[in-house]
């Protein structure tokens, strides 16, 4: 049977879900599924942020696995750098196994909350603002 993770846009009343096979879905794939399901891949003006529904912590590590049947909150916020949103990066992306080797070795199945699991954020937040 397919697994699901439920997501709710932060401003929306009702929930939606992403279905997949397995015990969890990576943050990267979750973002990709949401972007594709909502036909948002062409817009380059926003970034998606996913948060745990209970702790409200952001899933900053794209390789982190969200366990099946959990609920997340999604926000669409302006791209950190104007016109440099990552929607198409996620939409066309090959999946979470490709980021830096550091991320793979450190993130291996351990649910670390952001900070250090990735050497570099994909949303550009750690880049100097111009």
């Amino acid at each position: 049977m397919a697994s699901s993770v439920f997501y709710k846009w932060a401003s929306r009343k009702d929930e939606s879900r992403v279905t997949f096979d397995g015990t969890g879905i990576s943050v990267f794939d979750m973002k990709r599924e949401i972007i594709l399901a909502n036909h948002m891949s062409k817009a380059n003006d926003f970034d998606l942020y996913i948060y745990d529904a209970t702790s409200k912590q952001e899933y900053q590590d794209d390789s982190f696995f969200i366990p099946r049947s959990s609920s997340v909150i999604v926000k669409r916020l302006p791209a950190a750098r104007q016109g440099k949103g990552k929607a198409s990066y996620y939409a066309n992306g090959a999946g979470p196994s490709l980021p830096t080797s550091e991320a793979v070795s450190r993130g291996a199945g351990v649910p670390t909350w952001h900070k250090g699991a990735m050497s570099k954020r994909f949303d550009g937040k750690d880049e100097p603002q111009t």
Partner: protein
């Protein structure tokens, strides 16, 4: 001076961009949202303002300035899909805006239901429309204790208004799109009789100077005339409502004066506009003296003598395109799909034909791209088409230009000016120009250009603060 209350201003859209206007004002526990538009260069979810960081149940009122989609089309999503309904928030717009908004949204829902990214259903739309409270210009409306507002004429399109908002004595003027030049049918924007503390003003044209009305109309009619005289077809992509009515008034009058043109048809391709003609006729009393006096003489200016509707059958675009010279007003104005796009592709490779872009073209749309006069472009089917058709831009978009905007900003005399609804560079230039004017005169006026979700915290000097606290 411990807890001086500050006003926070957050743009959810139209911050350093044109499109999806949505401005959130928060002061002493009250929240007012001005406009709720979509971004015309995007569709579905991506076209919405950045609404995810606001708890919509805390909003006291949503005020919509005019019926254009970039100011009003996200309203249904917000009232029906967010938790807005869990709160006590009310929605306001003027009577004519509400009347036209209904038709605009029916059309919008019909267009988007044919794609997979529809944001809401016809039922949502009906519910949202029913909840809108219509108001009159110059009427003082109390939203809740401590919050009231008054609409003033903004010109621009039928029903458009600015809002002078009062939150516990703090006054904010939000202009929406406005024009300071009387045109064929509308009054120009008024200067409200009270000096507000904050002015939130559009900056579409930045520091650009637009040609005067007569000059512009003459250039327009001459151009149309020369295109049809060289045996070409003249395409005027325009939105069905708003500026189209102005163009029709100009063309109808010009044709009347030029009998040699009577055998050349002007087609107006919009069933939406036909439905809205009754709204225009109902609200003639809100238009300018010229229109009102013609109407009083039983000369209804919106009954056009030289304008024909297109044959109501599928494939009319091709029929007209293959026929003799003519002028066609077709929607949408940005030519991203629909009749205007189809006609453009059919006529693009014949140099006798002419395209006149009459509106402001938003970044990311074909109407904008084509003003660079590319040698070729990609059709909707993906083929490459040679562009030989002549391309000209003449702005009838009814936004203020630099001299009108700067004059209005100075007349309003607010201590804080927030520029919105303009592209980054246009807005930056306007800010620089205004700053140097104020500096010359040694006046302390702050000009702000916030990006989306970059919240401004404004505090106020002088009696204003004392009064607000004591109130």
């Amino acid at each position: 001076m411990a807890d001086t209350p500050t006003l926070s201003v957050t743009m959810l859209g139209a911050g350093q961009e044109v499109g999806r206007s949505c401005c959130v004002l928060h002061y002493r526990g009250k929240t007012i949202v001005c406009d709720a538009g979509v971004h015309p260069a995007h569709s579905g979810m991506a076209s919405l303002p950045f609404i995810d960081d606001l708890d919509w149940s805390t909003v006291d009122a949503i005020l919509i300035t005019h019926f254009h989609l970039d100011h009003a089309a996200a309203l249904t999503y917000i009232t029906e899909k967010t938790n807005f309904g869990d709160g006590k928030g009310k929605v306001y717009m003027t009577h004519p805006t509400k009347a036209v908004h209904k038709f605009m949204m029916q059309d919008y829902v019909r267009m988007s239901s044919s794609t997979s990214d529809a944001l809401f259903s016809p039922l949502d739309m009906t519910k949202s429309l029913a909840a809108i409270i219509p108001v009159s210009v110059h009427q003082l409306i109390t939203v809740c204790p401590g919050v009231s507002f008054t609409p003033y004429h903004a010109g621009h399109v039928l029903g458009a208004c600015m809002f002078l908002i009062d939150i516990y004595g703090l006054k904010i003027l939000y202009t929406g799109d406005y024009s300071r030049e009387e045109d064929r049918h509308l009054v120009k924007a008024e200067l409200p009789p009270v000096r507000p503390d904050v002015l939130i003003v559009e900056s579409t044209f930045g520091t650009q100077t637009l040609e005067g009305r007569e000059e512009k109309e003459q250039r327009f009619t001459n151009l149309v005339h020369s295109i049809v005289k060289r045996n070409g077809h003249c395409l005027l992509p325009t939105f069905a409502l708003g500026r189209a009515q102005e163009l029709l008034l100009i063309l109808d009058e010009y044709w009347k004066k030029h009998p040699d043109l009577h055998n050349i048809p002007i087609y107006y391709a919009s069933s939406l506009a036909r439905k809205c003609m009754s709204v225009y006729q109902t609200y003639i009393h809100t238009m300018n003296a010229n229109i009102r006096s013609r109407f009083a003489k039983r000369d209804n200016p919106f009954v056009f003598k030289h304008i024909s509707n297109v044959p109501p059958q599928r494939g009319w675009e091709k029929k007209i395109a293959e026929g003799p010279p003519c002028v066609v007003l077709a929607s949408p104005g940005f030519m991203d799909n629909g009749p205007s796009r189809e006609l453009f592709e059919l006529w693009a490779s014949d140099s006798r034909n002419g395209l006149i872009v009459t509106g402001y073209s938003i970044e990311g749309t074909l109407a904008r791209e084509i003003t660079n006069e590319p040698e070729e472009f990609t059709s909707m089917k993906g083929n490459t088409i040679q562009r030989k058709i002549s391309v000209e831009g003449i702005s009838f978009s009814a936004h203020v230009d630099f001299s009108q905007n700067s004059e209005f900003i100075e007349l309003v005399g607010a201590q804080h000016v927030v520029l919105v609804h303009g592209e980054q560079t246009a807005m930056g230039r306007l800010r620089a120009a205004m700053n140097s004017r104020y500096k010359e005169r040694n006046e302390d006026v702050k000009i702000h250009t916030p990006r989306n979700l970059e919240t401004l915290q404004l505090s106020f000097r002088g009696e204003r603060v004392a009064k607000a606290i004591g109130a």
